[in-house]
């Protein structure tokens, strides 16, 4: 018994006029010219999104650049529990925890770096966070930059948005 064998149809043998290609090429030229003319006449047929000015409507579950949430008093909501760093399959989150002067907060992140060059945008960190402190709902892609260092986002960058 053969398992998983799919019979693929051989390409149909071309008729003689087809095998000359000439007519087919002219037909093809007609298709492309049709597209061009219709695009010149009706600009709305063009699919391009002019990116910086116009932005695609991101689906609500789109996972973009991370941001860190703040409490009402402006301090980061993050309590440096390392759950995101533990869940991260790319190991791109570096946290250093510190003792907060506020005993009600107790623990806060001294450093919270995400290496955007390593990040795979899987969203595990968001899933893992017990405090809803990290979200990926900015709808932004990681902007390009010219050094690696600038693409390691620090806590300040992440708190901005």
């Amino acid at each position: 018994m053969t398992i998983g064998v799919i019979k693929v149809a051989r390409p149909r043998k071309m008729s003689f006029p087809e095998s000359l290609y000439l007519v087919e090429i002219v037909k093809g030229l007609g298709v492309t010219m049709g597209h061009m003319l219709s695009n010149i006449v009706r600009q709305e047929g063009i699919k391009t999104i002019e990116y910086p000015e116009v932005r695609r409507e991101m689906p609500p579950r789109f996972r973009g650049r991370h941001r860190l949430m703040k409490r009402e008093d402006g301090t980061p909501r993050c309590v440096a529990c390392y759950c995101c760093a533990t869940a991260c399959p790319a190991k791109c989150i570096t946290i250093v925890a510190g003792e907060s002067p506020d005993p009600g907060v107790e623990k806060y992140p001294v450093r919270f770096d995400i290496d955007m060059l390593r990040c795979v945008f899987c969203g595990m960190c968001v899933e893992a966070c017990p405090c809803d402190a990290i979200r990926m709902d900015t709808g932004w892609f990681t902007p390009p930059d010219d050094t690696r260092e600038k693409l390691i986002f620090t806590i300040d960058t992440l708190l901005e948005k």
């Binding site: 309590v79 440096a80 529990c81 533990t86 925890a97 009600g104 107790e106 623990k107």
Partner: protein, 525 residues
């Protein structure tokens, strides 16, 4: 010998055994909070309830002594419901602040909730009784009264082991909490153990607080280097950073405890380490390469011996070195350099505090080993120091970071008298600041070997992770130096050296790493 049945399995135990221990013997784990094998039985957490035939009510496994013919079940629905109920009761007022709790990952509440609880909370968050968090109660401990489940392990530890009785229960009912008397903080040298025995996050270590989540840590067996007691420890590390030491149970040495001084000895394996070999030229450090420095040191030692006689070469050993290293060093000094100027001292700066329990006056882990291997101590060291001070030594090989109790100035003045000083050490210290050539050594966590405790118990410490920077295992350094002086050694690693020790050194005769095992072996005689 009573014979009983637990979950259908028959087990023989000595008379007087409790059910919890009998079950452990056949691999059945009964949940517990207040029960601790090294403390008295309190029976107040009610987690270890089991069903015993002919008993009308569930029994606490920790306090019920077995009888012949007893039939115990730990897996019935009744037991499960009871345990779940107990757990729910304990969690009623628990703040569930696992994200900021250092105990997370090794917490009894977390583990048993996942195993027995998994219930929905029937208690509103606002109704919880709040108690004082983040209290510095002295010693190495931070207390969070909210997380406490009132198991009383800490109270019993402070009563039965240290006898200092700082912690007590206060208030009643929901508002019961554990605390110290006002103005009477923890005052003993074993406070770190409280964090270990606390099954939840109520008592956590001030030193380890927020440093690392426990699930990132890896563990290896080691020996505390803080004194000659030789407490067995578990060393916790992530990568090449040690984060904490915890006592490893060894009934013959430290039971389940260790002192607060010993707990902090891990720091010197992280900080101020010597990481690259270097030489000192006109007062300035110059990084050197192993490949050129080792032959150079060997050559300088040999040259001094050949020029001024073997009497002008000296070797100072360190009681911080392992038996294996001391053995090789002795052979290097006596056989290869042919000098009798070989000594060490067990004395250190400070008062040499001892308490008759775990803390010993001798603050070195292997003074006994050095003595047993025939390296002279005390007077011989003083004689050697005065000889050096008199300018009688041309080349000196020093092991260790300090010269016994000598201060930095004294060390500098003394070593200035010697034209060439080579040091094998782990950390920056008085010696590395004065030595002409520094050969960085792997720390205890980065190498393997044996220490001999003050009672003559030979115990192994294990290799944890590769040496930091360019540091090398001192055995490797010694073998390399020895071979450059014509020894022809083919030792590879500490095991082969220990085999040689067991073969030639009388106190160690017949020993092997197998016979030492996990818990060590006492020398004969």
């Amino acid at each position: 010998m009573p014979t009983l049945t637990i979950n259908g399995m028959i087990v023989d135990v000595p008379a007087g055994t409790t059910i919890i221990n009998a079950a452990e013997k056949i691999g059945i784990e009964i949940p517990r909070y207040c029960y601790h094998p090294k403390l008295s039985v309190a029976g107040n957490c009610r987690m270890c309830l089991v069903e015993v035939e002919k008993f009308p009510k569930l029994q606490t496994a920790c306090s019920t002594v077995v009888n012949d013919g007893m039939v115990v079940r730990t897996d019935t629905e009744k037991v499960r419901k009871a345990v779940t109920g107990v757990l729910e009761l304990m969690l009623i007022h628990h703040p569930i602040d696992c994200p900021i709790c250092d105990q997370a990952g090794e917490c009894g509440l977390q583990n048993y909730y996942m195993k027995f609880g998994l219930h929905k909370s029937r208690y509103d968050l606002e109704d919880k009784v709040h108690k004082k968090k983040v209290q510095d109660i002295g010693g190495q401990i931070v207390l969070d009264a909210e997380r406490c489940i009132l198991c009383s392990r800490c109270v019993r530890f402070l009563t039965e082991v240290t006898g200092t009785q700082e912690l007590h229960f206060f208030n009643r009912g929901d508002h019961s909490e554990i605390s110290i008397f006002p103005g009477r903080p923890l005052d003993n040298n074993y406070t770190g153990n409280l964090a270990d025995i606390c099954p939840v996050g109520a008592l956590t270590s001030k030193d380890f607080r927020f440093k690392c989540r426990v699930w990132f840590l890896k563990v290896f067996d080691s020996i505390c280097t803080g004194c000659s007691k030789g407490c067995n420890v578990d060393a916790h590390h992530k990568g090449d950073i040690l984060y904490r030491l915890k006592p490893r149970w060894n009934d013959a040495v430290n039971q389940a405890w260790m002192c607060d001084f010993g707990r902090l000895t891990y720091k010197e394996m992280n900080e101020a380490r010597l990481l690259t070999p270097f030489v000192r030229e006109e007062g300035a450090r110059k990084v050197a390469a192993w490949g050129s420095l080792l032959p150079d040191v060997a050559f300088r030692l040999k040259a001094a011996a050949e020029k001024g006689g073997t009497d002008r070469v000296a070797v100072i050993a360190s009681p911080q070195s392992s038996n294996e290293e001391l053995y090789l060093l002795r052979r290097l000094a006596t056989e290869r350099l042919g000098t009798s100027n070989l000594a060490f001292t067990h004395r250190v700066a400070g008062d040499g505090f001892a308490d008759g329990f775990l803390i010993q006056a001798d603050k070195n882990p292997n003074s006994r080993g050095a003595q047993l291997l025939g390296i002279p101590d005390g007077a011989a060291f003083d004689a050697l120091v005065s000889k050096i001070a008199g300018g009688g030594i041309d080349a000196l090989l020093v092991f260790g970071n300090v010269l016994g109790p000598l201060s930095e100035e004294e060390t500098a003045a003394l070593l200035a008298k010697v034209p060439f000083v080579a040091q094998v050490g782990t950390n920056e210290g008085p010696v590395s600041k004065a030595a002409n050539a520094v050969l960085p050594s792997a720390s205890v966590a980065e190498r393997g070997g044996t220490f001999t405790s003050h009672v003559g118990r030979v115990q192994r410490f294990r290799f944890g992770f590769p040496a930091r920077g360019k540091a090398k295992n001192p055995i490797e350094i010694l073998v390399s130096l020895g071979n450059r002086l014509g020894a022809g050694w083919d030792f590879a690693g500490e095991a082969s050296v220990f085999k040689a020790i067991a073969g030639t050194e009388a106190p160690f005769a017949g020993m092997s790493y197998d016979s030492i095992g996990m818990f060590g072996q006492e020398i004969k005689g």
